[in-house]
Structures are given as C-alpha cells and as structure tokens.
C-alpha cells in the first residue's frame, strides 16, 4: 500500500498520467481546497481593494482588517433560510447552482500549476476546459427558467446569449494560440495544457509576444471575452443590479446563492488560468530565456519567500499602527498572529527543497492573481455595457479581429 502511495513520487508525470489514484485524490483535495480558500481570499480582497478604490475602508470589524469576513459571510449564508419560490420547479431550481459549481470546479482537473502539479494532463486539455466551462450556461438557463419569474428569465436569456456569443471569439483566440504550439521542431501542435506551456518553453517565448502584435491581440481578445464569459463588470448585464436586481439568481438565497458565488469566482480563476497557460507561459518564471544561469535561477527562486516576508511586514506594520486600546487587543493579537504565520511561511519557502518545488506554483499563482486584480479594477472603473452594445462588441468587433488574428498567425507560422 505504501509503495502504491509513494510510487507516484518517483515518476515524473502528473498523478493522473501515472495512474496513481491515491495521489490523484490527494491532488484533487489540495486543488479544490486551495481553490475554495482562494475564492474566499478573493472575496476579501475584492471587497478591500474595491473599497480602497472608492475611498472606503471595506470590512473592518470581523477580525483584523476584516480578515475573517469571508468566514463570517459563509456562516451567515449557510444558516440563512433557504427559500424556494412557490411556483418554482423545485428539481431544476435545486440542480442549477450545482451544475454551475460542478462546471467551474471540474475545469481544475487539467490546470497545470507546474510541470507535474496537475491532477492529470488530458490530451484534449484545452478543449475539455472550454467544453466544461461552457456547461455553466446550462446552469444559468435553468436557474432563470426554474425561478418562474420575469427578472431571472430575462437575466438568464441575456446571460446565455452573452456567454455563447463570447465563447466564439474566445475559442478563436485560443485556436490561434494553439496554432503557435505547432511551430515546434516536431511540427505537431498540442491541446494538452502542460504541452502548451512546454511548447512555450521550447520556443523560448511567451505566446503573448510571439509574432508580436498577433499574440498580443489574441491575448487581448481572450482577456475581454473571459470577462464577458464570467459575467463580470463591465459585462455584468445578467446580474445588472440596477436593471434586473440580480439577474438569473434573483430568487436564490442562502446556501444556493453562495454556490452561485463560489462557482462564479472559481470560474474567474479558471479562465484566468487558461489565459496564463496559453499566453503568459504558465508556470515559467519571468525572463526564462534572457536571464538564465544559476544565479538568476536562485534569485527568482527566492521571490516567493520574500513576497511572504513582505506581506508579513505589511501585517506587522498594521499591528504597530493598531490603536493601543483594550478594545483592539484581540484584533491586534490576531493580526500579529497572521503576520507571524505569513512570516513563518516565508521562512519555510527559503528552505531549498521547498523553494524548488514551490516555484512553479508560485509563478502560476502570481500571474493568476494579476488577472484577479484586473477583474477588481475593471469593476471599479467601468460603467456597464448595454445588451445590444455588448452583442455588437462580441460579434462585430471581437469575432472579425480574432478571425483575422487566426489567419495572420497561420500565415506567419507558414512564412516565418
């Protein structure tokens, strides 16, 4: 038994490919737990960052600087009364949030956090991701229909039309990136997520910069389409609260509503991961070809540790600046504890074996975090598109450009 468990460690592939079920299960637990924690962290970060954009403080009461707010929210949502509208279709009403949740979590099966840090590596990785994430449309349609109310119905019609429309441009942008993988010496492209990153490694370039404007335009199209795909501002019409109160999940409350939120944020992280994998070199550290050599490797491998130490320093500054009043004692202690844990993690990350293993995951996560920040930034800055304008952008702007980029990439790949 122990042999079976450890047999994966000697292999140089993902647990799925190694066929080691136990390790695959462990990975699944780690990834899904990690995503859930990331969603909670994202929740807190969004509220704090958005608040600071808008000269507010955001959550401050629950825990130091509102750090425990997501947990308090989760408890509140779980204990809330669960209301099902009188004439709703109970079964469909039940299943809709689960579909969205499953669709957005199933995607994580193929996301490569590192060359071996993925649950499995499918031959059709990117196709699987797009396919499974497109299933969440079903959940949206069903949620809107099952609520038996006008606002959710209109919201879900809008939402599904939007998601399907932007999937087209998104898919074409993805295809142009996949086309670039076929420019290997071997001459065959790949749909596997790990293969795509490895192709970037072999070609010594992030696809963002490949064929310079082309890769960048494809990336930009994907970056726009993915915001629309996840129904976030400025494309958040399905949930436009000033028009349709909350769109397709108007009638939902409590646990089921929180499932929608969980699914939405998980989907945001998932599509960001696709963008990172396809255009930003996945787990590769910055400048893999320019700044080579053992010294640079070492310098970049110290990054995660320093990041955590600086976060700890920020937390400690917060501790020092906390008002010296008995009322704040617990908060101060909590923040100090949080800072100490961060610092400890930072120190652990300096230990060579950990350092080397954690690097890939760190760079991948850092790139995804950049996209998450962009999501918050969009939300703070942009007004909302109107439905016809949204459709116009999708079909008349993004689609032709992505087609042109696809053809351009093909031509460039042939010629160069």
């Amino acid at each position: 038994m122990l042999d079976y468990v450890t047999s994966y460690l000697s292999s140089n592939t993902t647990p799925g490919q190694a066929g080691n079920l136990v390790w695959a299960l462990i990975y699944i637990l780690i990834v899904f737990g990690g995503v859930s924690v990331a969603v909670m962290a994202m929740n807190w970060l969004e509220r704090k960052a958005l608040a600071h954009f808008q000269i507010r403080l955001g959550p401050m009461r629950v825990g130091p600087h509102g750090l425990l707010q997501p947990i308090a929210d989760a408890i509140k949502l779980l204990t809330k009364e669960d209301i099902i509208p009188e004439r709703a279709d109970r079964l469909v009403f039940w299943i809709a949030p689960l579909i969205i949740l499953c669709a957005s979590f199933a995607v994580y099966v193929v996301i490569p956090f590192g060359p071996t840090h993925a649950i499995t590596d499918l031959n059709i990785g990117i196709l699987f991701m797009l396919g499974v994430s497109s299933l969440s449309v079903l959940g949206v349609v069903m949620a809107g229909w099952a609520s038996n109310s006008h606002y959710p119905l209109i919201g879900s019609l809008r939402s599904s039309a939007q998601m399907i429309s932007y999937e087209v441009a998104m898919g074409l942008a993805v295809v142009s990136a996949i086309l670039m993988t076929s420019l290997n010496p071997s001459g065959t492209g790949t749909l596997s997520m790990i293969g795509i990153v490895e192709a970037q490694q072999q070609q010594q370039i992030w696809y963002l910069f490949k064929f310079f404007p082309l890769g960048f335009i494809a990336f930009a199209i994907f970056a726009i389409a993915m915001v629309a795909e996840t129904n976030r501002a400025p494309f958040d019409l399905p949930e436009a609260e000033s028009e349709l109160t909350a769109g397709f999940h108007t009638e939902y409350s409590g646990l089921r509503w929180s499932l929608f939120m969980l699914g939405e944020y998980a989907a945001m992280i998932a599509v960001s991961s696709i963008a990172v994998t396809l255009w930003l070199g996945g787990w590769l550290r910055p400048f893999p070809n320019a700044l080579t050599g053992a010294t640079w490797d070492l310098a970049f491998s110290l990054f995660p540790g320093f990041l955590f130490l600086s976060l700890a320093a920020v937390a400690w500054v917060g501790v020092i600046r906390m008002p010296k009043h008995p009322y704040f004692r617990i908060q101060t202690l909590g923040l100090a504890g949080f800072g100490s844990v961060l610092g400890l993690i930072g120190l652990v990350l300096f230990v060579p074996p950990v350092r080397d293993r954690i690097q890939d995951i760190f760079w991948f996560t850092a790139k995804v975090a950049f996209f998450m920040y962009m999501y918050i930034w969009y939300r703070a800055t942009f007004p909302r598109y109107r439905f016809d304008q949204l459709m116009r952008v999708g079909w008349k702007v993004l689609l032709p450009i992505s087609l042109a980029v696809l053809i351009g990439t093909a031509v460039a790949g042939m010629v160069l």
């Binding site: 958005l50 954009f53 808008q54 000269i55 507010r56 006008h150 606002y151 119905l153 209109i154 501002a233 400025p234 958040d236 019409l237 436009a240 609260e241 000033s242 028009e243 349709l244 109160t245 939300r379 703070a380 800055t381 942009f382 007004p383 909302r384 598109y385 109107r386 439905f387 016809d388 304008q389």
Partner: protein
C-alpha cells in the same frame, strides 16, 4: 417650431400576459422595491423582448399629503414641511416657500439675507447634482463615482450643519430672511470649498465624460426635443439639455441673482449625455455664483420686519424658483387668516417624470434605468 409628439396612448394593462414567444409582449413590473427607481417609484414596463413599448409610472407610495398639511398650519409652521419634499435639495424648497410667502406679505428680505440664501441654495444645487451624478452613474454600472461624489457632498453638508444644525432637512430660511447669522468662519469655509471642488469635478469628468462605455450608454438615449419638453412642461437641466435657454434665475430673477454674472449651459441633442454635460457645467456655474456671492457678501440685517402673527391679505400668489431639478413653484391662496387656504406645489420632478414614457419608447430596458436616472427625480417630491 416643430410640433411636439402627440402624447402616447396609455398602456393596456388589462390584456393577459400571453406566451413569451407568441405575442412577444411582456409586462414587467419594476419597483416599488427596485434598486434603480430612486425610491419607491413603480414603473410598469411593456416589453417586446428587450425593447420598451411603453411605460406607466405608478406613484404615490410616498404620499404624505404635504399640500393638505399646509392648509392646517400657520405660514411659519408650514415652512419645515417643504424641506421634506425634495429632501436632497431642502434649502431650495425652503427658499421657494419663504419667497412666496414674502411675496404674499409684500415684504422683502434684506440684501445680506438674500446673499446668504443664494450661497446656500447654490451649495445645495451642487449637493443635489452630486447626488444625482453618483446615483446615475451607479445605475449605469459605474460604482466608483458614487463614493467620490458623496465624499465631496459631505463638505457641503458640513457647512449646512455648521450654519443651521441640520444636514439634510435644513430649514435654513425663515419668512422675511434668515434666522441665523453666518457663523464665524463661514466665508472661509465656503471659499475653501469652492477651491476644493473644481478639481473634484474634473475627477468625475475624467472617470466619465470621455469613457467610451459611458458615452455609448448615454448618447442618443432618452432623446427629447425642445418642443416636447415645452409641451410636457419639462423644466430644469432636462429642458436646457434640449437646447432651450430657460433658467428662472435669469428669466424671472429672484433673491440676489440679478447681481451675479453667470451663464446658462445648454445642450443640443436633448439626450442623456447632454443632460449629463449640462449638469456638470451647472455645477461649475454654481461655484462661480457662490464665489461672487461670498466675495460680495454685504453687511446689514438678515431679517426683514415681519409681523409676529402673519396674516397676509386675501389673495393668491404664484412664485417659482430654479430648484436643482427644475422649476419649483408655489401657489398659495390666502383667505386673510393665519393659515393658507390652499397650498399647491409645482414640483419639478413630478412634471419631469411625465416625460419618461415619451423618452423611453422604442429604447431598451437598460435605457429606462438610464433615463430615470437622468431625469433626476426625488420621490418625496413626486408624491409629496
């Protein structure tokens, strides 16, 4: 002048809600509990998919019988009630009422009082426009301007609070002048404020004016022609954005407005974007008026000679002022007793709201939100 559009026929709400696909007509009830109706307005939308075939407003959820209350209170006692109509522009409401009763009593407020009135009402106009901008932008999906405008509106409210002790329902003026002398440092505060605000207005404009999404959401949305505006009695920034240079401050000057030099911004197309620009310009013009007023604030009494018991001669009077939202008029009939025989208010929001149906027909649901926002209605005033 081109003829105005004939008033559209009312919705037939009696017809049953047929199947979604077949008749393509969907009756959607928006409000009274809806985040974008600015209070308790209920709008019944008749939709063809996303296209609006017509709207009908159901009002009265905030009806408090202000006009009727006026008949049972003395002239001085009724004064605080008017603050509760347009609660975001309470000072303007008070000014309108006080001036109307002054007209009825044939007394004149002293110049210093008039200057203080102008300063406070213009500050109030700024506060009202800031609130409008924040909520309007929030309706269109831009969250951030709301907090910026509230931050700056707070400075105005602080001045109000220092002046008369209240922030929202100020009851700042009395019949015959002002009750309170300016506090020490009033001029300093106001001057500091008018130096502080212009960069903030630039900030709002940076966020919105050239923002592509904002422009696309507001240009050619909710158009209304000058003729339609006149036919419906629409006043205020909505009228001016349609290209009519009508501002009571210039047309029928009151208080100390003849003394000041300012411009009336007008728009050209009468769409939501023009209304936005007009209001932004108005904010700057208000600052100009305040600067002139605070620099030329005369010395002297702040209260005219007003009888202890106000018994105006029998008769009737109509007086209107330019409130932030349009023409605010008071019609008071006196029978010679201490109480008015009839008080009738012509609230700008109520009249402007009539134009909603005309403005949104043929547009999309999202535009209804934008148009309600751009009309700048306050339900306290619509329902009274």
């Amino acid at each position: 002048m081109p003829d105005s559009t004939p008033h559209p026929s009312p919705l037939e709400l009696g017809s049953p809600d047929k199947t979604f696909l077949d008749s393509n007509e969907l009756i959607l009830n928006m409000g009274p509990q809806h985040p974008a109706t600015h209070g308790v307005l209920r709008v019944i939308l008749k939709l063809d998919g996303e296209k609006v075939l017509g709207v009908e407003c159901v009002i009265g959820y905030l009806h408090r019988g202000v006009e009727k209350i006026g008949e049972n209170r003395t002239y001085a006692m009724f004064n605080p009630y008017v603050d509760r109509m347009d609660y975001v522009a309470a000072v303007s409401n008070g000014l309108g009422y006080c001036e109307t009763v002054e007209k009825l009593l044939q007394i004149e407020a002293p110049p210093r009082a008039n200057y203080i009135r102008v300063i406070l009402t213009e500050l109030n106009r700024l506060a009202s426009h800031m609130l409008w901008l924040g909520t309007h932008a929030l309706d269109i999906g831009a969250m951030t301007p709301l907090f910026y405008t509230f931050r700056d509106r707070e400075e105005i409210l602080k001045i109000f609070e220092k002046y008369c002790g209240a922030r929202l329902t100020t009851h700042a003026f009395r019949i015959g002048g002002c009750l309170y002398e300016t506090y020490d440092g009033f001029e300093h505060d106001v001057k500091k404020f008018i130096d502080f605000v212009p960069p903030k207005i630039d900030e709002y404009e940076e966020l919105l004016t050239s923002n592509r999404i904002w422009v696309e959401r507001t240009k050619n949305v909710g158009n209304i022609s000058a003729a339609d505006c006149k036919a419906l009695g629409v006043t205020g920034p909505v009228l001016r954005a349609s290209g009519v240079k009508w501002d009571i401050r210039k047309a029928l000057p009151y208080a100390a407005y003849p003394d000041f030099d300012f411009e009336i911004p007008v728009g050209a197309n009468g769409d939501t974007y023009d209304r936005y620009l007009v209001r932004m310009q108005e904010m700057r013009q208000s600052l100009r008026i305040i600067r002139q007023a605070v620099e030329g604030l005369p010395e002297g009494p702040i209260m005219a000679k007003v009888p202890k018991v106000m018994k105006p001669p029998a008769g009737e009077v109509y007086h209107s002022i330019e409130a932030p939202k349009g023409e605010l008029g008071y019609f008071i009939v006196s029978d010679g007793s201490t109480q008015p025989y009839r008080v009738r208010v012509r609230p700008p929001s109520f009249v402007n709201l009539q134009a909603l149906d005309l403005m949104v027909r043929g547009q999309l649901v999202a535009d209804v939100i934008a148009v309600i926002g751009t009309l700048d209605i306050v339900l306290g005033e619509v329902d009274r």
